[in-house]
Symmetry: C2
């Protein structure tokens, strides 16, 4: 069997996790190169990626969704098939159009990972199957995140002046989960609690706490718990933690569907999902079905070389 030749773009937490998963699944995949814009030992300069266009079947694109992916992707998709975990829900349509306008005879699968990704699949299936009666107060699917480390929120706190290091745990509220499970509708800001552990000098803590609590989009209007901890404590308990997870619920008043994810490592699982969609990517190329896809556009059997009939 010919193995799928993989390139990884970006060598942060997610890129490293992709390299790990590819090496674990070496029967099916071969890592050709890791590309980085920075000079990192063991990586190839991103500027040289065109030289690899006939040597790679799928690129796993592991760069930031906010600023990097929209810039990097148009350069990649003319010559390469790609799988990414673009996670800016609000900008997804714009991102897809951007890729389409530069794409060659290639396949790009965008927004894989777990949210967007596996959680999106669940929301789509749950809402297609469970349709609450029109006179019902029930809503379509509802999502909880956590308990786990939000890298985005952790970074937002780290950017505050005077913060030496910080981590933010997203904690779904137990009473909100129970309420949603029986069909109540709860606003997103009431579903979660945001718990921060911050290293900072004593004299700056009041100001920092104030800045966290009032930070728009990230913390303002939500239940926030802030704990200042010593450098030693942070090193011991919080450094390098990547666990995450979450829940998707559906309830039409008669049937309950519930999907739960518990992850030791958010980047590792995201990489597992991306690698499964790399298989889908190759199958779509074989069928000459070029274009840009989300997880909603791909039939489950494309994700695996196994005989799915045995699983039905």
């Amino acid at each position: 069997v010919k193995r799928i030749r993989i390139g990884v773009v970006g060598f942060g937490n997610l890129g490293r996790a992709c390299v790990e998963v590819i090496s674990e699944r070496s029967c099916l995949f071969e890592l050709v190169a890791v590309f980085s814009r920075r000079t990192v030992k063991g990586t190839v300069a991103l500027s040289k990626i065109e030289e690899y266009k006939d040597k790679i079947d799928v690129l796993l694109v592991c760069v930031g969704s906010c600023t990097d992916a929209p810039v990097v992707m148009p350069l990649l998709v003319s010559n390469f098939c790609t799988v990414d975990s673009f996670d800016n829900h609000a900008k997804l349509s714009e991102y897809i159009e951007r890729i389409k306008s530069s794409q060659g005879e290639k396949v790009s699968i965008v927004g894989t990972g777990w949210d967007p990704g596996v959680f999106s699949l669940m929301r789509i299936y749950f809402d297609a199957i469970l349709v609450p009666l029109s006179n019902s107060s029930l809503k379509s699917s509802q999502t909880f995140w956590g308990e786990g480390v939000s890298l985005g929120h952790s970074n937002a706190v780290r950017r505050i002046q005077g913060v030496k290091d910080a981590i933010q745990f997203t904690v779904p509220k137990k009473d909100a989960i129970e309420a949603v499970r029986v069909g109540e509708v709860i606003g997103a800001e009431k579903k979660h609690k945001r718990v921060c552990y911050v290293v900072a000098q004593k004299c700056e803590q009041d100001r920092i706490e104030q800045e966290i609590r009032t930070m728009p989009n990230y913390f303002a209007g939500q239940e926030v718990e802030i704990n200042f901890v010593s450098w030693a404590e942070f090193e011991k308990h919080y450094r390098g933690r990547f666990e995450h997870g979450g829940l998707v619920f559906g309830n039409d008043g008669k049937s309950q569907m519930e999907f739960k994810l518990k992850l030791e490592s958010n980047p590792y699982y995201t990489a597992c999902v991306m690698v499964a969609y790399a298989i889908a990517c190759c199958k779509l190329v074989e069928e000459e079905k070029y274009g840009v896809y989300t997880v909603a556009d791909i039939a489950p059997r494309y994700l695996s070389f196994e005989n799915v009939i045995s699983k039905i």
Copy 2:
């Protein structure tokens, strides 16, 4: 918007549930007729179904999987698109071939419902994403059924001579669930307990108990609890119960995926899934993608008329 014109074949518990769901979703669906081989008030004789071939977009086929579906389906699929919940896992491939050989320019979606159906989807996704290391004792996805009423097992007990009525509850064992959740591998026969409530005369109970416990495929080799109850007690507590549910687990040692279903009515939920796949059926016809499909072959976005991008 043109509504989808639905025909229902079979008027047992599932057929009735389909009629209920169609009437609840009358914005999208129109019930044209219910077909039955028996003379039932409000139904059309199945022998007259050909007269409806231009009046129906999708038939929801609600006949038994063991003996009825393999006989009835070849007659239907030359003129109609169909969605069924064929649930004989072992005979699925044979069933698909049978349909293919009689199919016109139509779409048939087989094995929808929840198992096969939604649980199959979960097993496929879980196993595609979570791949335990080769030196691991972990297995791919594992399924539990219950706590709920198994119609198949209830019928098997009812067929025993001297049984006036009976119901069988499939109960997943709590310790087995916990063991599977942390990655242990448990044989199917050790995962569930089968609890029967049986109405029978005192003098026949010993023989009936013996026949249940030794019944191959259904009860032999499994943990079985048999309770003889009075007619009055059966009427009060067990008549007309249809609740069911179950769990699908995936665990690669680092990530846990878990899907839980809790159903007030097994037939109602099965009908909800069939109706969602009726939408998929129409979309596939519009795209002229004729053929026989399982849930593994259909991209999630086909199941709904909603804009799925908003759910990603």
